[in-house]
């Protein structure tokens, strides 16, 4: 293998996350990166590519398929899992938190793996943050719709102005230690039931 760029395979069904990771690896100078998104015949594809490092997300059931690599004596090179090295507990914890796991072919030096793994962890975390922001934006939009409908019900039933309806929602939420969206949702549910 020499000192040339190690061959890295990314196994990930999320094309966006894989692209984010691939881009980061290329920027860091790792040129031999291949993304596999199709889980059928996964093992055959990996054997054909013969990578030095395999990165796979922890939400991927095909991690168990990779375990077969430890069994096949016909395989040219035997991979080892990153979790084997218990001396680096912090790095294992960080990768599990980020949701990624690595398989490294025996013989690749530890100091060459560390930058790959660190980069992988930071990109996975960046993706999770993006996803989280997206989810929050979606739920904020959803909340606004619910709050608007609840305001409408209050205005109609209690003869309030829009502002008064909103103040009532907000003060109730504060008193009940709940989110305005939750209070609004319970108004919708109640009005649905009382129809």
């Amino acid at each position: 293998m020499g000192e040339s760029s190690p061959k890295i395979v990314i196994v990930d069904e999320s094309p966006i996350r894989a692209a984010i990771l691939e881009e980061g690896l290329r920027e860091a100078g790792f040129t031999g990166v291949v993304h596999i998104s199709e889980m059928q015949s996964l093992l055959a594809r990996i054997y054909a590519l013969d990578p030095d490092v395999i990165l796979i997300d922890l939400e991927n059931p095909s991690r168990d398929v990779l375990e077969q690599m430890f069994q096949v004596s016909r395989a040219v090179r035997r991979p080892i899992a990153m979790f084997v090295d218990q001396s680096d507990a912090a790095s294992i914890q960080a990768s599990v938190d980020a949701g990624v796991s690595a398989y490294i072919v025996d013989g690749l030096k530890k100091e060459r793996i560390k930058p790959i793994l660190d980069l992988c962890i930071s990109r996975f975390n960046a993706f999770a943050k993006l996803q989280d922001e997206l989810d929050r934006t979606k739920s904020a939009l959803e909340d606004r719709k619910v709050i608007d409908r609840a305001k409408g019900i209050l205005m109609k039933l209690k003869g309030l102005t829009e502002e008064e309806a909103y103040i009532l929602l907000r003060s109730t939420a504060m008193r009940e230690k709940k989110k305005i969206g939750e209070i609004a949702q319970s108004i919708l549910t109640a009005s649905e039931m009382l129809k």
Binding site: M39, Q40, S41, L43, L58, E59, N60, P61, S62, R63, D64, V65, L66, E67, Q68, F70, Q71, S73, A81, F83, V84, Q86, A89, I92, Q93, V96, S101
Partner: protein, 388 residues
């Protein structure tokens, strides 16, 4: 004071005792505040248990043994004080392979020797005609499914490493893979065999109970060092699981247990499919044929929950037979020490004498298993590997 615990599981019917222990309140009654974490792979369950993210786990019995022996992976000693299930797997084949086996069979299709011999003839014919080898799916290299498939076909003269392909497939992918022709058959736990039959893409050829009368399947696993530091918590967990297992075995509770297990965040399939498994009344063919077995999945009856070191020895013997482990008296002792009837008895206040448990293993082929002479036992089997 309640003790928080994080426990990993794979959505399968044999996680029943664990799920019911939590959702029916048996764990809370023991002072445990359990968070069940649904996982997608055995690798995740094993790794998260090993590094301490889980306090306990629903685990394949052979993975617990492999972890303690450090086979193919990091060596972390595991203690298994409670069996979550015996049996429960089935071998399902595609309609085409089913027809091919039935065309070759002489004898009763429920007899695994008859089907294994028929499979050998199918394999020979395919080889002669230049067809691709048959592909069998199983769930993990260190799995009961792997050993059960191998035991069955090797008895008929089919070499599982030379004559067919055995591939690991995550259980949720099994049915699709059978439908698409990616595999010709698979061995997996419930509910996946029933799902394949319901979709018309598979026939259940065997219940594992046809192959082995009594086969430990999943265990409640903890790290050995954790078990030593938290003996009282572990005892409480064993009691909660035991109460759940007994609850599930009461016929009047089955429907409720099935509903609990069917919830989307638990197993996430129809309650009716779960209940078929618990009742051992399975539709085995797309034409609606039903087969009943009192031994399909044992959760809490016939002493199923008490760990039996002979079962651990049998699993270790399979690892040796198929070249995953080398044979040594020390390794055998380590494997047997994973199963902890002592912790089970202490937790439940039992004296260790079993009243209703039949003999161990009960394989359909080969001599009766002898844990004290594994080399002698394995010598009786023609097809086997040597560790490379």
């Amino acid at each position: 004071m309640t003790i928080p615990l994080r426990i990993g599981f794979i959505p399968l019917c044999d996680a029943a005792a664990l799920i019911v222990a939590v959702d029916k309140g048996f764990a809370a009654a023991e002072g445990l505040d359990v968070t069940l974490v649904r996982e997608v792979s055995w690798s995740n369950v094993r790794d998260k248990l090993n590094i301490g993210l889980f306090d306990a786990a629903h685990l394949l019995a052979p993975v617990a043994i492999a972890s303690s022996l450090g086979l193919g992976h990091v060596k972390v000693p595991i203690a298994a004080p409670f069996n979550l299930g015996l049996n429960g797997n089935a071998i399902t084949v595609s309609p085409a392979l089913h027809a091919a086996i039935m065309a070759e069979i002489s004898g009763d299709p429920v007899d695994p020797m008859a089907t294994a011999l028929a499979l050998a003839r199918v394999v020979a014919k395919r080889r002669k005609s230049g067809a691709e080898p048959l592909t069998f799916g199983m769930t993990f290299p260190f799995s009961t499914h792997n050993y059960q498939l191998r035991f069955w076909m090797a008895a008929g003269g089919v070499d599982p490493d030379e004559d067919v392909r055995l591939v690991v497939l995550p259980p949720p992918y099994m049915v699709d893979s059978l439908a698409s022709g990616h595999v010709d058959a698979f061995c997996v736990g419930a509910p996946w065999n029933s799902v394949a039959v319901d979709l018309g893409v598979g026939h259940i050829l065997h219940f594992v109970a046809d192959i082995l009368v009594r086969a430990v399947e999943k265990v409640l696993a903890v790290r050995q060092d954790w078990s030593e530091k938290n003996p009282e918590v572990l005892a409480a967990l064993v009691r909660a699981a035991s109460r759940a297992a007994e609850f599930i075995e009461q016929p009047q509770n089955r429907a409720e247990a099935a509903r609990i297990l069917a919830q989307p965040e638990r197993i996430g399939v129809d309650a009716e499919v779960v209940q078929r498994t618990l009742d051992g009344r399975l539709k085995i063919s797309p034409d609606g044929t039903v087969r009943e077995s009192s031994r399909y999945l044992l959760v809490g009856r016939e002493g199923a929950t008490r760990p039996d070191p002979v079962q651990a020895a049998w699993l270790y013997a399979q690892m040796v037979r198929w070249g995953q482990a080398s044979i040594s008296p020390a390794a055998l002792r380590t494997a047997q020490a994973v199963f902890r009837p002592d912790l089970y008895d202490a937790a439940l206040g039992r004296d260790g004498k079993l009243t209703d448990a039949p003999g161990a293993i009960g394989a359909f082929a080969g001599p009766p298993f002898d844990a004290n002479d594994i080399p002698g036992h394995l010598a009786a089997f023609a097809i086997r590997r040597r560790k490379s």
